[in-house]
Each structure stands twice: as C-alpha cells, then as structure tokens.
Amino acid sequence: MRDIFRLSLTLVVVAIISASLLTGVYSVTDPIIRERQEKDYFQALEEFFPAIDQFETREIEGDRFDLVYDQAGEKLGVMATVGTQGYDGKISYNLAVDYDGEIIGIRIISHSETPGIGDVITTDNFQEQFIGKGFDDPIRDGEDVDSISGATLSTGAMIDGIRRTITQIGEDILGRERKAFDPTEIVDGIYQGSVEGTHGPLTVEVEIADGIIKRVDVIEHNETEAYFVDAYPEIPEKIVEEQEVYVDTQTGGTLSAERIVAAVEKALEGGPVDKDDGGESNE
C-alpha cells in the first residue's frame, strides 16, 4: 500500500510542477502571440483599406466579419476571416471586399497544402484574378477564374470558398438581394444548364409549366457519389417545393448542392431547349 501511495504521489508532484511551469510560460507567451496575430491582421486591414478608421466586428456561424468605416463614418467594405476545406486540411484566409461588393484582396492566413503544388494559392498570380470580381460575378472555375492545373483541388477549393464567402457577405452584411427568378415570368418549356463539377460537367434539366417549376432533374454529373447522394434528389425537391432557385445548400454534399443550384440558375438564364433535340447531353 505504501508503495502505491508513493508512486501516485510522485506522479502527482511531477504533474503539478509541469502544470505550473506551463501556466507560467503560457501567461508570458499568450499575450505576445495574440498581439502578433492582431498586429498582422491590422496590417492586412490597413493594406486593403488605407482609409480605415474603425471597424465593427460581427460573427456569423463562427466566422468573423469586420465592417470597416473611414473617418467620416462611411462604410468602406468588409474583411472576412473564413476557412475552407483544402486538399490537405483547412485553408484559412482573409477576404477583403469593398462596399460595392468587389474583392480588394485575399490574404492566406494558414494552410497546409502540398508545398510546390497546392501552395500556389498563396501566389499573386492566382489571387490577382479575383481582384475586382464581385457579388454579381459567377466566380466559377473555367468561367471567369481558373484553377491551376496540377493543383486543381487546392485552387478549386479556394474558388468555391471565395464564391461562398462573397455571397454570404453580400446577403448577410451588405444586404444585397440576389437577382430573383420568378417562375411565373419565365416562358414555359424545358431548360438545360450545366456547370463544371468535380470530375466533369453537371447538367440539369428544368421544366417550367404554367409558371411553376415542375421538376428539376440532374441528367448528367460526375460528382463524387458519396457526397452527391446528399444533394440529389434533396435539392431539386426543395427547389420544386419552395418554387425558389436559391435554396439552402447546406447538406452533406454542399459543393454538389451548390452546383445543382448554379446549373438551374444557368438553365433559366438561357432560353428553353427543345426536348427532342437533346443535343447538349453527351449520351
């Protein structure tokens, strides 16, 4: 018994000494670490918004959004601190957007993409193509921005992440409305639209009859099956049910869900196709 007592006591003593040592070091280094991170952040803020005077912080779903004001109290824009799932872990970055909803700058805070391949996301070359893009731009790979071959997953993740962030900023912070599709104003017919997906195009077919979205079908896709099943048929059903193109895409397969919505949007932007033609599908 005495033995066990002695063993426990030794462990306890060692643990207490260790804990107190760590607490001491932590109390010294923690303020320095925080200060440095804040300083880096302010530096970036000043770089993106030279006229910055003050800012107001908002938290939405754990992401930080800073509304930036100048000395006159005019809104300059928004700095978002967000993260997206990269090829190898989380990429966290700042996205600076001016009041008109146009991207001013991107700053990667941390990432663990493959050195020499995925880390192109930190280069100006990749980031510059986003500058000036805004709320109304598609920000889609192959349309107005390009992923970098060899690093498609890392750069594609950034493109998707930036699109999501700027949409969120537009809707939740700057209070913009999306251009709405009113089914009653769309000519009856069958519409097709496709967007670039994980491994190839994703094509949807939308049927409008009597001003009602009758059905939405994905007629071609090359998504990862495990994620796609979470988006389909759930998202088309939602669209038909709510008679609304921009439904909530938070599902187990958010990327696929967003692509379905985007494809529907594209379909309705174009004119109706003749059903018998079917020329666009690669069957």
Binding site: S149, G150, L153, G200, N282
Partner: protein
C-alpha cells in the same frame, strides 16, 4: 592406383544449361521493340529518335560507370530500360528530363538494389514515376510546334496534346483505327497498339514472355472498360477495346509487366499479377485523379510480387511431412 583419365567437373547447381543468356534475351526484347520505336519516329518525327538515343545512351553509360565495366552494351538490360523509358515519354520532353529519368531508372530503379536480378521494381517505370512526380507538366505532353517530317501528314500539335484518356471529349475525336495504328496524342511508344502487338507476338513465339501476364492484364482492362468505361462509340465492347488500345496498357502489358525479375515465377501467380495490374489501372483511370494508371499499377503489383509468389508455390509431391 587408379588413374582417372577423364576429369570430372564438380559444380553446384544449376546443372541444366541453355544457350540463352541475359544478353540474347535482351537483344530479342530490343528487336521486339523495334516496330514500336519505328512507329514512334514515323509518328512524332526526329525528336522521338533523339529522345530514344539520349535515353539509351544515358542508361548504358550510367550502368557501365556504376559497375566499372568498359563494355557499354554488356548484358543489354540497360539498353532495354533506356528504350522502354523513352517509349513512355511524350514527344516534346526536354533532353535533360530524359537524362534524369534514365539515370534515375538505372540508379534508383536498379543498381541501388544490387543490379539486375535484385531490383524490386521495374527500372523503366521507376524512372517514369520519378519524372511524373517531379515534372508533371512536361510529362502531360507539351505542345511541340515542329515541321512534320514523317508524321503521316497530321497536325503534330495535336499529336503531342493531351492523351485520349484525359477526357471523353478528347477520346471521341479519334476513330478506332487511328487508336489502333497510333496516330494519336500520347507517349512515343504507347500509341501504336499494332506495332506493339507485332513485337509481343515475336516475344511469345521466342518464349521470352508468358502470355498469362499480358493476357490477364489486357483482359481485365477490357472487361472493366466494357462494364464501367463510360460508353464510347455507343457500344460497350468498343469501349472495352478503347481502354485497351488508348494509353499505355499494351506497351505496359507486353514489355513492362513481363519483366522477369519483378514478376511472379509461378503460372498462377503470373495470372494474378496480370489481373491485378489491369484492376489497378482501371481503378486509377475511372475513379482516380490521374488520367492514366498503368505506371503505378505495375509498380504496386511489383511490390506485391513476393506475396503472390508465396501464396502460389506449387504443391510438392513426394515430400516428407515435416511435422510428422
């Protein structure tokens, strides 16, 4: 005292001797590769010839220096490795890439393991894998704007474009006969299934390769291609054939998966090896991120070779049960 007139030679096994040597086999392989090499020059022009010459000479030089022998050709295996590597490269690769690839194939692929007979992986494929990982851009095929000395009168810029496997849209631009004869984009030696098959038949006739490995490999690719390949030419069987003739399956099945050193020795093991290669190739092609998977398929199966050998040892008859 008895005097033995005739001296008896006592030696250890093997006691059966054959006129075949490594050198004669390797020479036969080189002869078998000649149609493919010729097609490469016809299709891609003089750059193909330069690439092959650089690759072969580098391989032989490195081998000779490493083994401190003056004989450049030696057993011929370095020349085969160099030529095979060259045939898996796109037409427009820079010369230094060929040198690095060929040197890596000989040094990392073969000599660090102890030379021919000891290497675990096919040296040419090790060289290729290193090049793919290091300079993926060049290995995907640069556009090479060049006069087209022999190039069948087709546009060379399309010949050095993306491989037919890169996307279905690209695949559909070639007819099946083009795929079979080989005037399509791709690596130097992989495009012409016809030339490769001629060499393959010669090798089987000479008894140097076992039909089981290429047979199992190609059959598996065909079956999986037909079942899951995506319906090219509107026909499942043609899709299967497409997957066989497009890309590097034929050259790999006949010349690389049949390497004596790195493949199983038992007949059943060889069949398993071939099927495994085909399976991994199609897994990478259909569901992986790379367009082509033969390189890594064979390297992975090379690594599995000792296990396959171990499980397919033929039963011994007439032995004594050890535990008895």
């Amino acid at each position: 005292m008895i005097i033995i007139e005739e001296k008896l030679v006592v030696s250890s096994s093997p006691h059966m001797r054959s006129v075949e040597s490594i050198q004669s086999v390797m020479t036969d392989v080189l002869i078998a590769l000649f149609p493919a090499a010729l097609m490469a020059v016809l299709l891609f022009g003089y750059r193909a010839l330069i690439t092959m010459v650089i690759s072969i000479i580098t391989a032989m030089l490195i081998e000779a220096v490493w083994r401190r022998k003056r004989d450049l050709f030696s057993d011929g295996s370095a020349a085969v490795t160099g030529l095979l590597l060259a045939l898996t490269l796109p037409a427009a690769v820079p010369w230094w890439l060929v040198v690095v690839g060929s040197a890596s194939a000989i040094i990392i692929g073969k000599q660090v393991f102890g030379g021919i007979g000891y290497n675990i992986f096919n040296p040419a494929l090790v060289g290729r894998a290193i090049l793919v990982v290091s300079w993926g851009g060049h290995m995907a095929g640069d556009i090479w704007p060049s006069p087209q000395p022999f190039a069948f009168g087709i546009d060379v810029s399309t010949v050095t474009g993306a491989t037919a496997l890169a996307a279905p849209e690209i695949a559909m631009t070639f007819s099946f006969s083009e795929l079979f004869i080989g005037n399509i984009p791709g690596s130097l030696g992989e495009t012409s299934a016809l030339a490769l098959l001629i060499g393959g038949i010669w090798l089987v006739y000479k008894g140097h390769i076992d039909y089981r490995i290429p047979g199992g490999f190609i059959a598996t690719v065909f079956v999986l291609g037909a079942a899951f390949g995506g319906g090219f030419y509107g026909n499942q069987l043609m899709t299967g054939l497409f997957h066989v003739v497009a890309g590097g399956v034929v050259i790999a099945a006949i010349y690389m998966a049949t390497d004596f050193v790195t493949t199983p020795v038992t007949p059943l093991g060889r069949l398993i090896f071939g099927i495994g290669c085909g399976l991994i190739t199609m897994l990478i092609r259909l569901w992986g991120t790379l367009p082509e998977g033969v390189t890594f398929a064979i390297l992975i199966m090379n690594a599995a070779t000792p296990i396959i050998d171990n499980f397919t040892i033929p039963r011994q008859f007439g032995g004594v049960n050890k535990s008895a």
